[in-house]
């Protein structure tokens, strides 16, 4: 019986060694060791080098764009994702099943396809862009385009996280509020919304985390101009193309650290959400 960290109770089910072995091997070779390469390489840089690469003016603009646009997109998705989840859970209408299936489109559609499609819509001569251009509203090739793309990417996260919680919310709590004299609006604001808040926040956090690192959907519609409309992942690619592997790695390391911090926060959120639900 394997000892130490992986100590387990005796069980008559076999295969622990084999399956753990495969899992740990695959995890190490495919995920952990390659990821560590980023940090090891970064560690090999001097502090000044690292700061020059990871915190250069250009990099800072890129972070600002990536995180800023992701935050705006997550906020938009919070509102409309909640609306969508509400409508899907509470109401019946023709074509509801199709709509529900469509919500997962961003999961299934390749990012590059989404990218060129969104550009076709919002470019100055695009399906929608052509109506907005005369009004002086530019979407494609500006940071606004990035936000639009990230809304697309993050929508399913909010909807799918909120839906089950909304569905689970028993009708009796709303009926109780009604018998106590609350209007429908009061019931929504004071009873329903607080109950789904943890799920909503978790969904937003997931959407945000995904949006920060998004590449394919964004690079076609963003202007990709340094300091203006260049997202952080693009900056990494640009550095690589200029053979500045160290610079690219420094930025990647920064993004990884933030991603892991987000991941940690999301895990905490999900634990919190689970604890509240099991009341």
């Amino acid at each position: 019986m394997p000892k130490g960290v992986l100590q387990r109770r005796r069980s008559i089910i076999p295969g622990f060694g084999l399956t753990m072995g495969i899992t740990i091997f695959a995890l190490s070779v495919i995920v952990l060791i390659p990821l560590s390469a980023v940090f090891v390489t970064t560690a090999g840089m001097s502090f000044d080098e690292f700061v020059a690469a990871a915190l250069s003016k250009r990099a800072l603009s890129a972070y600002r764009l990536s995180f800023g646009a992701a935050a705006v997109a997550a906020a938009v998705n919070a509102v409309f994702g909640l609306l969508t989840a509400w409508v899907l859970v509470r109401y019946e209408f023709t074509g509801k099943r199709v709509v529900s299936a469509l919500v997962d489109l961003p999961f299934a559609l390749p990012t590059a396809v989404a990218g060129i499609a969104l550009t076709a819509l919002y470019a100055p001569n695009g399906w929608i862009g052509r109506w907005l251009a005369p009004l002086g509203v530019d979407i494609a090739f500006t940071p606004r385009g990035v936000v639009v793309a990230l809304i697309f990417v993050g929508l399913p996260f909010v909807v799918r996280t909120v839906e089950p919680v909304l569905a689970d919310l028993g009708a009796d709590v709303e009926e109780a509020a009604a018998t106590l004299g609350a209007s429908r609006r009061q019931t929504f604001v004071r009873v329903i919304l607080p109950a789904i808040a943890p799920a909503l926040v978790t969904g937003c956090a997931l959407a945000f985390a995904r949006a920060v690192g998004e590449y394919g959907s964004v690079i076609f519609i963003a202007g990709n101009m340094p300091f203006r409309s260049e997202i952080a992942p693009l900056l990494i690619v640009v550095q690589l193309e200029q053979f500045n592997t160290a610079g690219a790695t420094a930025i990647a390391a920064t993004m990884l650290v933030i991603s892991f911090a987000l991941l940690f926060a999301i895990n905490l959120l999900q634990v919190w959400q689970r604890r509240l639900r099991s009341a």
Partner: protein
């Protein structure tokens, strides 16, 4: 406040939940709606609350027609089966909720709300738990918070849906007694739904026995027990044994034993007779009565419970205060009914 329901009909899809039901509760009365699942009792309760609307029929509370009013305008307190406490609010906030959602004109000041909440926490004997969350309470405590919350808005009518269904036996008994005490103190007209006959008979001023969307009988517990109006009520209450009998010349003939009918009078003909386990006397084989063979005997303290089998395989349960000696499985006996309630067969 008195409550009346008149000729209420409610169907769900093809299923008739209530088939033209009428009932009247007097002011201050504690009424039980008793029946098996599917009898319509919960539907009726929800219609009284305004959580459902009947297909036809009317509801009035305190003499005022409420049929068109939604739940939030009826001033009815409702205690849900699973309590429906607001998980994300403290106990105190739960109880005060109904007061805080009042329109500004009628909303009491914060201090007043806090005072009411404290008062109610005393009433339901949970004075120290105002700051806790529902998840931190036991089932019985949640039950009492749900009640306090319903009482906070000073309802004119209190409706309870299987209030003790989710609790274990000991807690149930204690809470039962306590609820009756609260009712007596507040004098509030209360209607509660239950499928537990012991509960209904123990607590209620009058019992409404329902089955299949219809009211079989409305009477005091004593009358419903002693004089069940229909075979269903008799069967549902008291665990009676059912045997074939014959109504002859105004009396009931059960296997040769003639007795007056404790149920409403019936015309001569075949009958279903109900005899409760304690309503038998034992006799030697050959006497008039029901011939049985003893299958099991369980002596518990002052009584003995006998399981007997008739000639055609029917099971009759008997409880005897002082069983004679020599009773063992396999003994042949005759059961002589002392009291019988019979209804037309079929």
């Amino acid at each position: 406040m008195s409550v009346t329901a008149s000729a209420v009909v409610k169907t769900f899809g093809g299923f008739t939940a209530l088939d033209g039901v009428s009932l009247a509760a007097r002011e201050g009365e504690f009424l039980a709606l008793l029946g098996p699942s599917g009898s319509g009792k919960t539907t009726l309760l929800r219609i009284l609350a305004g959580l459902e609307f009947p297909d036809s029929g009317s509801i009035s509370i305190g003499g005022i027609d409420m049929s068109d009013r939604p739940a939030r305008d009826r001033q009815v307190g409702f205690v849900f089966q699973q309590y429906a406490l607001f998980r994300h609010m403290t106990v105190a906030d739960n109880i005060g909720f109904g007061l805080t959602v009042r329109p500004r004109a009628t909303r009491p000041p914060r201090a007043e709300i806090d005072r009411r909440v404290a008062e109610l926490l005393e009433l339901v004997q949970l004075p120290a738990l105002g700051g806790r969350y529902p998840a931190q309470l036991s089932g019985g405590q949640r039950q009492r918070v749900a009640l306090a919350r319903a009482l906070a808005v000073e309802p004119r009518l209190l409706l309870l849906d299987e209030p003790f269904g989710a609790l274990d036996a000991k807690v149930r008994k204690d809470l039962r007694r306590w609820l009756r005490g609260v009712h007596d103190r507040t004098g509030l007209t209360s209607i509660f739904v239950t499928h537990d006959q012991e509960e209904a008979l123990d607590l209620a001023d009058r019992v409404v026995v329902m089955v299949h969307g219809w009211i079989e009988q409305i009477d005091t517990p004593e009358l419903v027990w002693e004089r069940p109006a229909t075979a269903f009520v008799c069967d549902f209450l008291g665990g009676a044994n059912r045997v074939k009998a014959q109504a002859v010349a105004g009396q009931i003939d059960v296997a040769g034993v003639r007795l007056p009918n404790r149920a409403p009078a019936m015309v001569d003909g075949p009958a279903s007779a109900f005899i409760r386990p304690h309503e038998f006397a034992l006799a030697a084989p050959g006497s008039a009565g029901i011939a049985v063979v003893l299958r099991r005997i369980l002596r518990t303290g002052a009584q003995a419970a006998l399981e007997t089998e008739t000639g055609d395989g029917g099971l009759i349960e008997v409880t005897i205060a002082t069983p004679p000696d020599g009773l063992a499985p396999g003994t042949a006996l005759v059961l002589v009914p002392q009291t019988v309630r019979a209804y037309p067969a079929g």
